[in-house]
């Protein structure tokens, strides 16, 4: 609902930065983050909205950040691609493919050294494992049995290039297995399955048994970057899109809940969330822009 609101209002020109929407990939974010403690840490990518919200990130500060306001979670310095909320363990979002992977690995190394018992998650995409630094980090994480889970959301495309043009036809989990890493694979649009697989991976990591590569199949509904649908471009077929639409993670959950979610309760929830979103949008709209002089702050600690 948050991102539907972003898409609906993006054209108004208040949100003046690139937005990479997670619509269609919600269950992966929620299933993974629900299996974590508040003190556990996640590192995300340019497509970070769902991860930020699933880990409990503040909605007002998210909208303010996307609108470039001083009240944004990082004061308007990063925009949509850099969301973070340290209090909630949303440590950083880094919009260079695979760039956050060694950072997350180092985070797990720090927690291992401090014996904190915390687990780190590196959210990555299917293209990340094409980058050398994924392999450098995976090798190190296995060698030192670090408490980390590499969650790979495979949405089949890197921008507009399909996976089959970028990688040979082999299970992506084999790449992790070749590093001697535990690997698991599931339907990232199935919340329960994601939660179950992630809980196993977290337990494995917390016990000191090392990392897991958790591959989650999912699909991005809207364009790579921006608020629109883009099937007309031709990089993917309408039929493929429609097939994935039938696997909508939210409708699947709805169906599973069945009578467990009373219509009245659902209506009340939707209304409350709508109010929250409108309030966050209003907060962001009313918030002042940062002062130009602030651009030179925090170069050095």
């Amino acid at each position: 609902m948050v991102e539907e609101a972003i898409a609906e209002h993006y054209g108004e020109g208040e949100m003046r930065c690139p937005v990479h929407l997670s619509i269609g990939q919600e269950a992966a974010a929620v299933g993974v983050c629900d299996a974590l403690a508040l003190t556990d840490k996640i590192y995300s990518t340019h497509r970070c909205h769902a991860h930020y919200l699933a880990k409990g990130g503040d909605l007002n500060r998210m909208f303010a950040e996307i609108c470039g306001k001083a009240a944004g979670c990082i004061g308007g310095r990063g925009g949509s691609m850099h969301l973070m909320d340290l209090e909630k363990g949303m440590m950083a979002s880094i919009p260079i493919v695979a760039s956050s992977i060694p950072i997350a690995t180092g985070s797990a190394l720090a927690d291992k050294r401090m014996r904190s018992g915390k687990v780190t998650v590196a959210f990555i995409g299917d293209a990340s494992i094409e980058e050398g630094v994924f392999h450098e980090s995976a090798n190190f994480a296995v060698l030192h049995r670090l408490p980390i889970v590499f969650v790979c959301e495979n949405n089949l495309y890197s921008v507009y290039t399909p996976l089959r043009q970028r990688q040979p036809d082999r299970p992506l989990t084999n790449v992790a297995l070749a590093h001697g890493m535990r690997a698991a694979h599931g339907d990232g649009n199935n919340l329960e399955e994601t939660y179950r697989l992630m809980s196993d991976a977290v337990a494995h990591a917390r016990c000191g048994n090392g990392p897991t590569f958790l591959l989650l199949d999912t699909y991005r509904w809207r364009e790579h970057c921006g608020p629109n649908f883009d099937n007309r471009i031709g990089y993917r077929t309408e039929a493929e899109y429609l097939q994935w639409e039938t696997r909508c993670p939210i409708r699947a959950l709805h169906k599973k809940l069945g009578s467990g979610l009373a219509p009245q309760r659902e209506k009340a929830m939707v209304e409350a969330i709508t109010v929250e979103i409108e309030s966050a949008r209003a907060f962001a709209r009313a918030a002042p822009l940062p002062e130009p002089a602030q651009a030179s702050q925090f170069v050095y600690a």
Binding site: I74, R77, G106, S107, L109, R113, N139, L143, F298
Partner: protein, 365 residues
């Protein structure tokens, strides 16, 4: 003799001074650890990490797989989470594989996070020449790292400064690129024992003078000192400034010196083009143009890669002879005097190989 006097007499190499700096920092703070390639290598990174694993244990000096970008990223991640890592690259060229993490994450995490993250990280990089290291093992790439706001870049010339600056770098809450010229590892100097810090605050005057200001980095500082010594003998007073800290750039000492001397020569260990000297000259011309009595001169490497053969590197590195000649030209010193100065330098250098550290630079200075 007092204890302090004894310690001031103690002369060790710059490499040993760096090792002492690491040991002092490791002993004071168990959040400090190092990623090194070749922990058990008997060469032990010019002796700078010798015995550290034995004394502090394997989890304080971690053998890093051959994965430079990963190493820097992992160190940044650890630094964001309260650790204080040090990384050692035996050649600055290896660090090029890690530019992505250095530029995007080390340099910017504090800024992007609106001050919420800090990156207390030291990356040691060895630059410089010798023994036919050739085009991809002997570059001096300090200007690359000096380009990025958020990084600190330091470049000691003297053993005592190297130890004190390394301890400061490890205690600094910013990512510090710690540049070591490989010839200088063998140079010696008086180095105090125990723990002390030298601030990462900027250039220092290492020879006072009034006729010309020479601003130099690392090994070039020693070449400049040598030139200053022979020029002094012919009545020319040279002020030599050791840059020490390339970023953040503090120009105050240099500006004050040029205001006094009216003459400026810069000597880089790297390329002249787009080099440190370019930045220094631009800053002086911009702020103290009217103080200059002659056009500033920049010395450094010529505009081609540095080859391996000792036959090909003749004249490539700016040495004390070239510095002395440039001073003579700039100040209009008479030929007679100049010949005295140059003959003295040529006599010192006679029969010495170009590809090994000059024994003159053993120090102390």
């Amino acid at each position: 003799m007092t204890a302090q006097a004894v310690s001031q007499e103690r002369i060790i190499t710059l490499a040993d001074a760096i090792r002492e700096g690491l040991i002092e920092s490791f002993a004071r703070d168990d959040r400090t650890f190092m990623f090194a390639q070749g922990v058990d290598d008997p060469a032990s990174m010019w002796g700078t990490i010798k015995g550290i694993a034995k004394r502090f244990g394997e989890d304080r000096i971690i053998e890093m797989p051959v994965a430079e970008n990963g190493a820097v990223g992992i160190a940044v991640g650890a630094a964001l989470n309260g650790q204080r890592p040090v990384i050692g690259f035996h050649r600055v060229e290896f660090a090029l594989l890690a530019l992505e993490q250095i530029v995007n994450n080390a340099a910017k995490s504090h800024y992007i996070s609106n001050g919420q993250h800090k990156v207390p990280l030291v990356i040691r990089m060895v630059i410089g020449r010798g023994w036919g290291q050739g085009p991809e093992h002997s570059q001096s790439l300090e200007p690359i790292f000096s380009y990025f706001p958020g990084l600190k870049v330091v470049m000691p010339a003297f053993a005592a400064d190297a130890k004190g600056m390394l301890i400061s770098a490890i205690e600094d809450d910013n990512p510090v690129i710690f540049i070591e010229h490989r010839f200088l590892h063998y140079a010696t100097g008086h180095v105090p024992e125990g723990y002390y810090k030298n601030p990462l605050d900027g250039p220092r005057v290492v020879r006072e003078g009034k006729d010309v200001t020479i601003v130099a980095t690392a090994h070039a500082v020693l070449e400049a000192i040598r030139a200053a010594d022979v020029l002094r003998d012919i009545g020319c007073s040279v002020e030599v400034i050791d840059m020490r800290v390339l970023r953040p750039l503090n120009m105050a000492t240099i500006q004050a010196s040029v205001k006094k001397s009216g003459h400026l020569i810069t000597v880089d260990t790297g390329f002249v083009m787009y080099g440190i000297g370019a930045e220094v000259v631009a800053a002086v011309v911009g702020q103290n143009f009217s103080a200059l009595k002659a056009a500033p001169v920049r010395l450094g490497l010529p505009d081609h890669p540095t080859p391996s053969s000792r036959g090909l590197v003749v004249g490539v590195y700016p040495d004390s002879l070239r510095i002395t000649r440039e001073v003579g030209k700039m100040l209009g010193i008479g030929d007679d005097k100049m010949q005295l100065a140059l003959a003295s330098l040529e006599e010192q250098r006679k029969n010495l190989p170009i590809d090994a550290p000059d024994p003159f630079f053993k120090g102390p200075f």
